[in-house]
Subunit: 417 residues, 2 copies
């Protein structure tokens, strides 16, 4: 069973709205074990919509059309489906009554053009679930010598999601017969490049290519690190879970400590949890990252039990005045060490973490743009590490942020033994 | 000139990533006056990619392919384009050298598979702009009896955006020849709701509906504020500029001081410029925003001449210990005032700006989630303002950030007279 998604709306092509509906539907289809090979966006134009629907039907068994079911003149999904079916539109009195009642319950007058939403192609069925004024449609189509189907759902996300979940997916699964489930697990990593990860995982990927039991994909996500996604297809949940867990073990074995978490873990949630279980508090001194590390950590609810606070001594004399750092080059290991120790002392924290560097575009205190020194003060000892990112200012600051948090993570892991 | 967008990546179909790249490209094409009727997403599969590219070429003059240029085995956009061109892939030594140098500058070893990124279809040209390791490609194709073109750009947004802006759009416009220009101007605002703005601008929008000389659209952008986009279509730049400037004046007249800038202005760049021209320095004390204000301001190159620094006293006793605030309720006007005054004093700044509140999901010190107090210390006097956002934690922190910066902005404007 193959199903495509066609999102309708000129505003999608113009970039005025990002098409999150197709992504959501794609995820649901994958979880239901239904293959989906193409997604298309098309504007509010009858000929182009008709062409897009027909092409999707030629390639697949089913098409979910999202959007264009509203009451305004540019809402012509009904017309395009009727054209593809070779059927007429006919007003459905029961649907018209349902829409009228909906306005009545909201104490609102129904604009006359809302009744166009009750027009249904002859041969199509109206979905039982109708959260808004737009009815969803199940439209059988004979195409390329086979019985196929178009589902029409509105573009309003919460209406669409209920209809897809309660009507479209069950109908698709009934048509597909016994099915497979698709489940995935994402390993979150920091420390290897994308190509480095691919090299480490090459033997496992070759093995999976041969067995077909799972796939591995990579995704670079800036400050969120590099993601390794394992996806398994199996007859049921238990079988999929077994495959995922076996592949995950093998992947972790070769990637090693660069795996900082899985699925919804973030670098900041992992670091906070490690600090918490070690009974340690954290203080930050951020210069080149300018508050980004603090902003990330405080995004996690409950961070205050571990994070004491931060100082951003952006003006150089403050490094001395507030943090007690010596009057040395601001982009140096000495400064990073002194800032980390100062953060711990001034903020009353067990651990001090610092950044100082040159974010760019210009060099700073003799350091080339992209240079970041990270200082860590832990258990009475200090260490400083230099990294260099040959990138734009925003990326230097973001990658400096995750690299600093990752240094703290690896040291806490080593300390826990 | 018609141009389609094809986004490549199985992760897009599976809904693991939302395809924001196509939306961004669609917006740029619209602004450049280039029609775009379809956007397609296709997985990492050679046959399906080839089919998607060929179909897009059949319908349009140009195709922008986004993604699949990385170094891993599933990055096969190069192969699919070569297949469509009927050309071979050949390693480009200059590109290989460029990639090697990039790793060298980052002090990192280049994994061998990165070299596959230097494979170029014979007849294609490598783009001059190459922000990352993936080179962009300009690939001429003879199709349906006409000379057409495929542009290949990476899926990493910041790399893609530079290549599209600096290479693809100019190339497309050169091919399109004389045309109408579409120009737009974005007013950046904070202080009115989207429907409030629509009401204020309703008369002007009705006038524009009648004349057709321009359109006005609204876009809510979180911490970036609410954008009002004016778009004019005219025979040439001068005519478009005249329309934009007339509509802008009328829009500014009704929106008033809530317009904080235009186009590339950001709230942080505007606030830094106002401080600079007033000869004032700034110190921050952030609790509920946890470093976000500092992170925003330090994102602007050269912020250090105005921004002294920040203290994030996340642990309550630090508000007293570091900033000298009295022992009062942490979410109160007294605390906001004391933090602002303390920030000015401790950080040696002329102006102190503070935030304290309950970001949620739980209430904090008796304050409901979503409560944000903003304190401002300026010219020896203090003021505190309370706002409430009935939203999730992330939005509370983001909207608190822009609201605090906006308070400072309006006071600096009033002070400048």
């Amino acid at each position: 069973m193959r199903c495509e998604v066609v999102a309708v709306g000129t505003e999608l092509l113009l970039g005025q709205i990002v098409d999150t509906n197709s992504s959501w539907i794609g995820e649901q289809l994958a979880l239901a074990g239904i293959d989906s090979h193409f997604q298309t966006k098309v504007g509010d134009n009858l000929d182009r919509m008709t062409a897009a629907f027909e092409q999707a039907l030629d390639r697949s068994d089913a098409v979910i059309v999202c959007g264009g079911l509203g009451p305004t003149p540019d809402d012509i999904t009904r017309d395009a489906i009727a054209a593809v079916m070779g059927a007429e539109l006919r007003r459905d009195d029961a649907v018209a009554e349902r829409i009228r009642a909906m306005f009545y319950r909201r104490d609102r007058q129904m604009p006359a053009n809302n009744l166009q939403q009750a027009d249904v192609p002859v041969g199509a069925r109206v979905m039982d679930v109708q959260p808004g004024t737009a009815p969803g449609l199940i439209c059988p189509v004979r195409r390329a010598g086979a019985d196929k189907v178009i589902y029409a759902v509105p573009g309003v996300p919460w209406e669409m999601q209920r209809m897809v979940g309660e009507c479209v997916l069950p109908d698709l699964q009934a048509r597909a017969g016994p099915r497979q489930v698709i489940r995935s697990r994402t390993l979150r990593t920091w420390g290897h490049s994308e190509s480095g990860l691919a090299e480490l995982l090459a033997p496992e990927m070759r093995r999976l290519d041969a067995t077909g039991e799972a796939t591995i994909a990579f995704l670079a996500s800036g400050m969120e690190g590099l993601k390794v996604r394992i996806t398994a297809k199996a007859p049921d949940d238990a079988a999929a879970a077994a495959v995922l867990s076996a592949v995950e073990s093998r992947a972790r074995a070769v990637i090693g400590e660069a795996v900082f978490g899985a699925d919804d873990d973030t670098m900041e949630s992992v670091v906070l949890a490690l600090l918490r279980s070690a009974g340690l508090t954290l203080g930050l001194a951020e210069s080149v990252t300018g508050g980004l590390i603090a902003a990330r950590l405080t995004e996690v609810p409950g961070a205050s039990d571990v994070l004491r606070g931060a100082v951003v001594p952006y003006d150089r004399p403050l490094k001395t005045r507030v943090l007690g750092a010596p009057d040395v080059n601001a982009v140096s290991s000495e400064m990073a060490l002194a800032m980390a120790a100062g953060a711990g002392r001034v903020l009353g924290a067990d651990v001090g973490l610092s950044t100082t560097g040159a974010a760019g575009p210009d060099s700073h205190e003799g350091a080339e743009p992209g240079t970041v020194w990270i200082g860590l003060h832990l258990d009475g000892a200090g260490e400083a590490t230099r990294v260099r990112f040959n990138m734009a200012r925003t990326m230097v600051r973001q990658l400096g942020t995750i690299t600093a948090l990752n240094l703290l993570r690896t040291r806490l892991l080593a300390r826990a033994g």
